[in-house]
Each structure stands twice: as C-alpha cells, then as structure tokens.
Symmetry: C2
Subunit: 221 residues, 2 copies
DNA sequence: GACGATTTGGACAATAGTGTCTATTTTTAC
DNA sequence: GTAAAAATAGACACTATTGTCCAAATCGTC
C-alpha cells in the first residue's frame, strides 16, 4: 500500500485551499440524509454540488472519509447553535413562562428541527450502529448534552425558588420530550414544522411543565 | 413484458403454501432494519433465513415486493399488540396512578420498544420519503393511531371526573412523549431498554402527567 | 412409491457503483 | 504573463448486486 508514491498521487490538497469544500459538504449532507450511506452515490453528490466527481476524490480519499467529514461539519454547526440557545436563557428570569417558551422555540427552531438537526437524528439512528466511534462522539460532545446543560439551568431555577424540581436531569429529559410532543409526527414525515406549530408546541409543553414543577406562589386564579 | 408466459415462469407459488415465508420475512425485517433498504442484499437475507436466494425470488418477485411485504407483516403484528394494550386499560379505573403506569409499561414494552417498534420507527424515518404510499398507510392504520385511541381514553377519564383535560389529543401526544422521555437515548443506541428502565420511565411520566392533569380531589399531603 | 409443488444451486447477463489513472483545462497568486 | 495548484472529463478495472433461467433434488400427500 505504501501510502501513495509521490508522483501522480501527490494530490493531497492542502486543507487551507478549499473553495469547493463547502458545496461538497453541503451536497453530501443533503444526499446522505436523503439516501442513507449506502444509498448515496458519489456521482449524485458530485452533481448536486456542481462539482466533478474527481474533485471529491481529491479532497476526501473515499466515501467513508467524506461521510465522517460531513458528520463532523454538521455536528460542529449544531453545537454552536445549541450553545447560543443555552446562553440566551436569562440568568434571572422575570417572566418565567414567556422565557421558557422563547427558549423552547429557539431550541426547536435552531437546533432540533432545522436541517442539521434532522440530519443528525436520522443519521445517528440509521448509521449509528455501523460507526460506534462516531456515534460515541456525538453522544459525548454533540447536541446530546442538551440534557446536562438543561439540567444545570433547571437546578439554578430550583435554587432560585422559581421551580420545585427534585430531579433536574429527569426534568430536563421531560422538558425536551414535551417540547417535541406535537412535532414528532411532522418530523417523521421529513417535513419542517411551521413557526406556528413550533410556537404552539412550546406553549403547551411549558404550561404542562409549569403545572408539574411550578411553585404554587400565586393562588389558583 | 407480457407478464410471464406460462411455461417456466409459472412459479407463482400459491399464497397458501408457505413454510419458508415466515423465516424469510423475519430475516428480511432484521436485515432491512440493520442495513436499510439499499444496504440490505438479497443474499444476506437468504443466508440469515437459511434459504436459497432463488426461493426468495419465487415468493416475492423483487426486492421491493419483499420490502413491502415485510412492512405489512410487521405493521399487522404491531397493530394487534397495540389493540391488546388499549383493551387492557380498565373501563372504570380504581387506582388511576397504578393503572396508568401499567398501561405505559405495556405500551412501551410491547408496542413501542420491542423488535417491531424499533423496525417501524427506523424504517419509517429512513425509507418513508421514498415510499409515500406505504408511509401514508402506516400513518392511517398503523401504530400511529395511538394518538386518537389514547385521546379517547383520556376523554373518558375526563368525563368520569378522574382527570381534568381540556384538550385530549394534546394530552395523548404529551403522554406518549413523556413515557418515552427516559428511553430516547437508549433507543437511539439501538439497545433495548431494561424492564427497570421501562418501569421507572413510566412512573416518572405518569407522576408528572397527573400533577399536570389531575383533579385536586385530595388535599395536598 | 408416485405425483406435483416447492426448494435448491449454480451459471448467467446486465447494471451500477467505487476508486484509479491520465491528460487537459481553469483558477489563483506572484 | 507565468507557474503552481486545483478542478475537470473521460476511460478504465474491479466488485457487488439484482434478477433470470434451468436442471436437479427434496418435500408432502395421496
């Protein structure tokens, strides 16, 4: 194997120069998501990226290399979106219901149900078992830590006396489950939920959540 | 095309005689679920079913026919399991919390998170867009009507004064979302949740659900 | 045991996809 | 403008897979 022999194989392309890298990654994400790993053909990706097939092979040695690169790319993007959403939640909430709703909407719109979220959910489920390493990485560093981060937020709300939450990690899982309750079906269809759906789903979720975990500060009205 | 010409093509095999049909369907479900539609090869299925490849082609003309048959088979099985679970819920609940928990456990164990449930969830997501007809069928007649059926049950509980539920369909979606909240991660790993996990998840879900929708008949204890 | 139905194994053509190679063209930077 | 880097197009070998055809073997039932 010798790892390429200088002459004609020196097509390793320095990672700095790109130009075609972005369209390739985008098209590949699209096609991998639509067709799955084995269903996606390099030719299809090349066409969708408006790029010669050879160019793809120049940048990424083989299909699997490309796939891994795509997952890394999408995961990174999803992560920054997630951090942004988490950071946007106020330290000292004033109108808890509204702020939780806004947070849920943000989470759903920009992390869970955008293009990247859809890609990750679908791919982790269908190709996860085949790439344990990749899968583990997603679980550790990926959008999956929504759980812990949310748990921390709820712990703060508990200590601030705004909510009464015995088990914060559990509450975090329940919160994410609830804000998706209304969107599951749309999601499975591969469609993107409308803004109204996202907003409605968030409101319903937060209302139930607050009935379950709210401190009964105000008298029943 | 002529639709086969009597002589050698008369291998249509009467639907009654089977013998090899069950192992074929089982193996095919397994392989389709593991590899996806395009990743699954007929040879692999034949081997796993301990059957000659030709036999598969005798029964199901082509790969797609086999796939459709598998989905129909699994859906039918999942449906009877679902009906059994729904029927098992008592008309006049006596200990609502316990009975809801038992119901949730039953639902999770025998419908949502068994082999069939896993298959349907995975396949609908990955191959759904490619088979709109099949997908529609699943949505209409498949396990997806958990929603409506559950809604009906909750409506009854509301009228019986056992719960206070303004929107029963919403509550149904939230209920199913909650009983899965703790299992999502395990599920994505392709693992089957343990009995303890299922039980715990159900308890937590029902407790939050009852805090949100319970009539406050008893004084806070 | 004989009959028809079912199953099997192997050979086969046709197709599609991966990855390589090479020569040529375009782009970028100096 | 020129030279290096990157992109392209096409031909190619190789492999895997689908689906067909056929002859032989096996099974179930009477």
């Amino acid at each position: 194997m010798k790892s390429r022999n200088a002459a004609s194989q020196a097509k390793t392309i320095r990672p700095a120069q790109c130009l075609k890298r972005v369209p390739i990654l985008d098209a590949a994400a699209e096609v991998f998501c639509r067709e799955g790993f084995s269903g996606a053909s390099i030719d299809e990706i090349a066409e969708e990226a408006c790029v010669s097939r050879q160019t793809i092979y120049n940048h990424y040695r083989e299909k699997e290399t490309l796939f891994v690169a795509v997952v890394a790319d999408v995961t990174a993007r999803a992560n920054t979106a997630l951090f942004a959403a988490l950071a946007a939640f106020p330290d000292k909430p004033e109108n808890l219901r509204e702020e939780l709703i806004a947070f849920a909407v943000d989470l759903n719109r920009n992390c869970l149900y955008n293009q990247d979220g859809k890609f990750l959910r679908k791919l982790v489920q269908s190709e996860g078992p085949r790439y344990p390493h990749l899968f583990e990485a997603w679980r550790e560093h990926g959008p999956c830590k929504i759980g812990t981060a949310l748990g921390a937020i709820f712990a703060r709300l508990h200590h601030q006396g705004l909510l009464h939450i015995p088990d914060c990690d559990l509450a975090a899982r329940q919160f994410t489950a609830l804000i998706n309750a209304d969107l599951q079906m749309t999601t499975l269809f591969g469609e993107t939920p409308t803004e109204a759906q996202i907003r409605g789903s968030a409101e319903q979720a937060v209302d139930l959540f607050l009935r379950g975990y709210g401190v009964l500060a105000e008298p029943v009205r």
